[in-house]
């Protein structure tokens, strides 16, 4: 074994996976070469010492918040996917067509057709659509990542960043609705209500905020929600506003605002 070959085998030697014949050749070489012997001794010592850096598994655990953050984001993601699921009417078409559509010949023809259409559209757009899509995905990723952060200021940045995302983005919409309903910080909830204005054309937003109005524990968020409903002329909010107006538990300012809201919508 040459000095060069020793270097090639060192990684296997350190990991303890060098075969017996190679170990014997290596030992022979080390008996004759002081430089290699010194190098391998130093590297083995460092490699072994790295073991000292590996504490007991219990001493190096992530915090419990990591788990709760993961499950929150998983739930938000699932809600986003459900919101983006195709409408039932379209499903029926696919069910009907599933028989012949699943045949290999159809799939091949369909793929070829899509390829031709794709190439044509790609040429027509001159590649800008791909880039736009990438930019949109990046913005979506940044928004959703920020909205999951532990610090409220980061989540506020996420809400702010959501303004750069397309209003058809259901994942960001779901994350904003989640923030309005569940965020522990009132400022984040208020900012999320404002950010939802660009999604006000979506019926799911109005329905969800109507429910949120009844559940909110912060009068400030309730006031912001009533403003939102009046601005969007959401008449479906009338029963909720009436309930708030009647309830003895409602904050005085919210009551007055609900009365005003009812007068605007009725």
């Amino acid at each position: 074994m040459t000095c060069e070959q020793v270097k090639e085998h060192i990684a296997d030697y350190l990991a303890g996976i060098l075969g017996r014949p190679e170990v014997e050749e290596l030992d022979d070489h080390l008996a004759r070469c002081a430089a290699c012997k010194q190098e391998i001794a130093a590297l083995s010592e460092t490699w072994e010492m790295l073991g000292l850096l590996e504490p007991e598994p219990l001493a190096i655990q992530p915090s419990a918040q990591l788990r709760s953050r993961f499950y929150e984001s998983l739930e938000a993601y699932r809600q986003g996917m459900e919101a983006a699921a195709p409408a039932p009417a379209r499903r029926r078409f696919f069910d009907w067509s599933a028989g012949w559509a699943s045949s290999p010949a159809f799939r091949l023809a369909w793929s070829a057709a899509l390829l031709i259409v794709g190439v044509g559209v790609g040429r027509w757009l001159g590649g800008s659509a791909g880039l736009q899509d990438e930019v949109h995905q990046m913005r979506q990723l940044v928004t959703l990542s920020l909205l999951q952060q532990q610090s409220a200021s980061e989540r506020l940045r996420g809400v702010d960043y959501s303004n750069r995302v397309d209003q058809s983005d259901t994942q960001v919409l779901a994350a904003l609705l989640h923030a309005v309903n569940h965020d522990s910080n009132v400022n984040v909830r208020l900012a999320a209500v404002d950010a939802l204005r660009k999604f006000s054309g979506n019926p799911a937003v109005l329905g969800s905020l109507d429910q949120s109005l009844r559940k909110q524990d912060s009068p400030m968020v309730q006031l912001a929600l009533i403003d939102f409903m009046v601005d969007t002329r959401d008449k479906s909010a009338v029963p909720s506003l009436a309930a708030l107006e009647r309830s003895p538990a409602t904050d005085k300012n919210v009551k007055e605002k609900a009365t005003w809201g009812l007068s605007q919508l009725q």
């Binding site: 270097k7 090639e8 060192i10 990684a11 296997d12 350190l14 990991a15 190098e39 130093a42 590297l43 010592e45 460092t46 490699w47 010492m49 790295l50 073991g51 000292l52 850096l53 590996e54 504490p55 007991e56 598994p57 001493a59 190096i60 655990q61 992530p62 915090s63 918040q65 990591l66 788990r67 953050r69 993961f70 499950y71 984001s73 998983l74 993601y77 699932r78 996917m81 990723l141 959703l144 990542s145 999951q148 952060q149 532990q150």
Partner: protein, 185 residues
Amino acid sequence: MPETRADNVLMQKVRDGDLAKMAVLFERHHRPLYRYFLRLTGNREFSEDLVQDVYFRMMKYRHTYRDGHPFTSWMYQVARNAHVDSAQKRKGETPFEEQPEPASAAPDPSEILLRRQDVGLLRRALAALPVEKREVLVLARFQNLKYDQIADILACDVGSVKVRVYRAIKALSRIFFELAGEKAS
């Protein structure tokens, strides 16, 4: 079913829309992943953010998971990208912080003291190592991955991984003995 194969099947289900299975993959892998990031960044908070980011990316890019590809390798590929992106964002910061001391079973107090000194120097040496060298050592020494798995993660051949391990441990050794020499002199 071996655990690795079970992981692959779970990830296929996630890819096909059964997102709830991601929770099982989280429970199985988030701790080693956290330790991987902690070794790379030395910072608990960054490491937790990175773990969160990896699971988010795996959900978002689940359609890129290919049948039969080992899930662990794919997860570490995603983890590497997440780490590179976050390192670019935090350019200029020095994130290394003290990590927990290992529980030592050695009964000799002088040996414990010596080890603590070594551990301190070794941590400093590891922190001083360029990130690509630190990464390959973390994968090989702490994550208990085989060289062929690391080759898959780093998108290179096994021979290149062995060369990188050799160069990384050599660089670490040099820095460690330099620091030890400074301390002794």
